[in-house]
């Protein structure tokens, strides 16, 4: 298949309207977030899915992205600190009126 469309270094086209018959790996790595977010147009999505059927390397890239995201989740902070005493006092003052 003669893919005469030059590889994108970034994405010039935010809609990713892929006019060639296939998505290249270099295009896919720019689309991966939109893919995860469900933001791809149906036609582009099916081209991406076709590409992933055929390209183990891009599947690896997807797995790496997922692993990165999962690792970020592991960084989530422990519980919040205590509200300060003055903050609690200000709140309690609202209950004060009898």
């Amino acid at each position: 298949m003669d893919n005469s469309r030059p590889p994108h270094n970034g994405h010039q086209d935010r809609e990713f309207s892929v006019t060639a018959d296939e998505v290249t790996c270099q295009q896919f790595v720019e689309m991966v977030t939109d893919y995860f977010e469900g933001a791809l147009e149906p036609h582009t999505l099916s081209q991406v899915e076709e590409h992933l059927v055929m390209c183990d390397w891009c599947v690896t890239y997807v797995e790496q992205m997922q692993a990165t995201i999962a690792s970020l989740r592991e960084l989530s902070e422990p519980s919040a600190p205590e509200p300060t005493d003055s903050l609690l006092a200000a709140l309690r003052a609202k209950r004060g009126g009898t």
């Binding site: 893919n3 469309r5 030059p6 590889p7 994108h8 270094n9 970034g10 994405h11 935010r14 290249t24 790996c25 270099q26 295009q27 790595v29 720019e30 991966v32 977030t33 939109d34 995860f36 977010e37 469900g38 933001a39 390209c55 390397w57 891009c58 690896t60 890239y61 797995e63 790496q64 992205m65 997922q66 692993a67 990165t68 995201i69 999962a70 690792s71 970020l72 989740r73 592991e74 960084l75 989530s76 902070e77 519980s79 919040a80 600190p81 509200p83 300060t84 003055s86 903050l87 609690l88 200000a90 709140l91 309690r92 003052a93 609202k94 209950r95 004060g96």
Partner: protein, 220 residues
């Protein structure tokens, strides 16, 4: 991969009216619950304005003082969260005026310096057999669960996170660390869905690349 809403509050959130009424009545349980739930987001946003974690924590506590003091005057013309967010950014700016510049999100021009997610050298050029396909493909991360939870890998990830441009760090933090939804983040920061995705994409791409570099080096 759908945004994980399981990290959002598991109880159905009280309406703004209920929350405001509870705060006005000095209901400590409601207050503590809201304080704890909103703390990561508030601190993360504050941190984009000020120079240290400690100051960011101060800003959050000060914001809450202003919220508690001002809750009777809150008229409900905006969402409670929006109102709190504007108090937070004002408090943060007071600090940052003394420290460094604060750039409002809405003024960010995202179009500057398109950065490719992966070094273009890793792909085949036009005069090669499969233009645009991998020349140096990614290698599977062996036993990713175990490896990525290693202390060193975690530290590497945290270091890479600290090096992200501020806005990318904020979006990745809110979405992937705090588990906020795209809609929440867009509403909070006044971003379009698309701009939010661009920042998320760039941030995640840099982090993946940093981890890949670390893990490839660890393999050799």
């Amino acid at each position: 991969m759908q945004p994980d809403t399981a990290t959002a509050p598991v109880r159905p959130a009280a309406s703004d009216e209920q929350t405001v009424a509870a705060l006005r009545a000095g209901d400590e349980r409601t207050f503590r619950d809201l304080f704890a739930r909103s703390y990561p987001v508030m601190k993360r946003v504050a941190r984009t304005y000020v120079a240290s974690e400690a100051v960011a924590e101060e800003v959050v506590q000060e914001t809450w003082m202003a919220v508690v003091a001002g809750i009777e005057r809150f008229e409900g013309r905006s969402a409670l969260g929006t109102w709190m967010f504007s108090i937070l950014t004002n408090q943060a700016k007071t600090h940052s005026a003394r420290e460094k510049r604060a750039v409002p999100f809405s003024s960010v021009a995202l179009g500057n310096a398109e950065e490719p997610s992966v070094d273009p050298d890793r792909f085949q050029t036009d005069d090669e057999a499969w233009p645009g396909h991998w020349a140096t493909p990614p290698r599977p991360w062996q036993k990713p669960e175990r490896r990525l939870l290693s202390l060193e890998a975690r530290e590497r990830l945290k270091a890479a996170l600290a090096q992200l441009p501020e806005r990318q760090r904020l979006i990745v933090g809110l979405r992937d660390i705090d588990g906020r939804s795209a809609e929440e983040v867009c509403q909070l920061l006044g971003l379009s869905q698309e701009n939010q995705r661009v920042l998320l994409h760039r941030g995640r791409s840099r982090l993946r690349a940093a981890l890949e570099e670390y893990l490839d080096a660890a393999d050799t």
